[in-house]
């Protein structure tokens, strides 16, 4: 199975005045297509920083990140934006829907930005139905519950069939019922559409829906846990 994402010895140092704050101290990670990885760790361990670097929202101080065969880490802003547009979908804790647009409008703008490259109506319909949103297309975010907003955000993130979906605490602002619904959706996307997903979470129960768990602390990966059933398919140990 092909490697969809590879991070090689990624470091990130922030300068706060004269003080250098290392957020990541050398993180390496390889992800196969179709995997669902959870990254857990205490606050300040560098999970979000890692996600931002993997998604091309910022670049590392050292190291390499390759997304679906394209190096994103050393690319200039325009090139990183281009890779992010084509290959990466984001889901955030605060949903981050555009408040003046309806659910459909939020999806449309994602398609517009993608320039309708690969998106097509059948796929949109499939996504909306899969996420149970066909009755909410005209509603604005203020007219939807948290769970519905997050489902729209997920729909927007996958509408253009990105290589990887990056989810930053997707259930952080949801109650247990909605959290479960969102996690089930992510699982369904992973199973049905073979969507590769990296999810950051504090919640061990949320993390358990993934088939690989990565633990971080102090800017480093300290352990990997695998779903044995996944590894049995490949007959490999994969880090």
């Amino acid at each position: 199975m092909k490697t969809i994402l590879e991070a090689i010895d990624v470091k990130k140092i922030y300068k706060v005045g004269r003080v250098e704050v290392p957020a990541l101290r050398g993180v390496s990670l390889k992800m196969r297509e179709g995997e669902f990885i959870s990254i857990m760790g205490p606050s300040g361990c560098g999970k979000s920083t890692l996600l931002h670097i993997l998604g091309g929202l910022t670049h590392p101080s050292e190291g390499k990140v390759i997304v679906d065969g394209e190096e994103i880490s050393s690319a200039k802003d325009a090139a990183r934006t281009d890779i992010r547009r084509r290959k990466i979908g984001f889901v955030f804790q605060r949903y981050n829907l555009l408040p003046t647009l309806s659910a459909q409008g939020n999806l449309d703008i994602a398609r517009e930005i993608f320039k309708n490259g690969r998106a097509h109506d059948e796929h949109t319909k499939e996504i909306l139905e899969l996420l149970g949103l066909d009755h909410k297309t005209k509603h604005k975010p203020s007219e939807m519950s948290g769970g519905e907003q997050q489902r729209v955000a997920i729909a927007r993130a996958v509408i253009n069939r990105p290589a990887i979906l990056l989810a930053d605490e997707p259930t952080g602002n949801l109650d247990s019922e909605n959290s479960q619904a969102v996690l089930s959706l992510l699982q369904e996307l992973n199973r049905t559409l073979n969507q590769s997903i990296i999810m950051i979470t504090h919640n061990p129960e949320a993390a358990a829906v993934a088939n690989r768990l990565v633990q971080m602390r102090d800017g480093r990966i300290i352990s990997y846990e695998h779903d044995l059933s996944w590894n049995a398919r490949e007959d490999k140990i994969y880090i």
Binding site: L57, R85, N96, L97
Partner: protein, 342 residues
Amino acid sequence: MEVVLIILVVGMTRGMIKESAKRIEGIGADIVFQPPGSSYILASSTAAMLEKIAGVIQETEGVDAVAPVMVQFNTQGGIGLIYGIDVASFDRVTNGFSFIQGRAFRAPDEVIIDDIQAKSKRLQVGDRVDFLNHSFRVSGIFEHGKGSRIFLPLRTMQELTGTPGKVTLIFIKCKDKEEIPAVSSRLRERFKGYTVSPLSEFVSQVYNATNNVAALKYFLNVVIFVCTSVGFFAIFLAMYTAVTERKREIGILKSLGASRPYVLAIFLKEAFVLCTVGLALGIALSFWGKALLLRVLPSFQVEIGLDWIVKAALIAFLSAGLGAFYPALRASSQDPIDALAE
């Protein structure tokens, strides 16, 4: 506001000049004779010519009638020109006034005014009015379009301005319209240095005053510059505020993969829409302003031409584009992580 100011200020300037030119045309003379160095902007002229010259001009071959006139710029009871005339000679050149009320002046302290001036100042025959720090009685109200809105006896004007025996210009009527060029040549030959202008040429110069008179051109350019600056800063502030308030949205768009040109285009398009709405409103308000001015100040003529509407539109779009560019550039350069952290 930028559009309204440009259209109305230019409109008032052009309207006043055009109306002034029409009234000069309405005198019906064939040639305008002025002292050396005179301007066709009569407000800037001074009485610098002997009245006796009119008698010599009368003897010139081809001349039918002459009317010496003193022109004085008036700021009392309104802004405009006052003509000091000898009624008899003026009537011979212009075929006389069409009186709506009353008659021409017969006494030194009588004045005649046109119907627009009368309406503007709510004057009737018999009312008293002050010009040149002197009280006059309105003896007649005539139909507008004959040079000035206010006429005084020439002798009175000369006394009040301390320039006895002097006039500003002389209107000349030829025996035959075909002879105008020949008469003009004779007058130039006889009175070297004096300004001899066929009326059509004189009026044409007045119509083009906004292009030909440096001071006027400068004034209009300053007004346009100020209006453009107003527009620029208005759009700049509006877009800068929009960028600041929508930082998070910009972050969302960037996380979706929106490029810098895409984000830049969003804000420039918004500025364009704002400008278009402002332009439409500005044009509508300009026409309303014109109607209001005509109602409140009937002597104020405003001409709103398509050429200046187009120019105002171009200026508006240019200032909007420039005003929006920096905020749009700032928006497109925002760090998505910082923006999403808002």
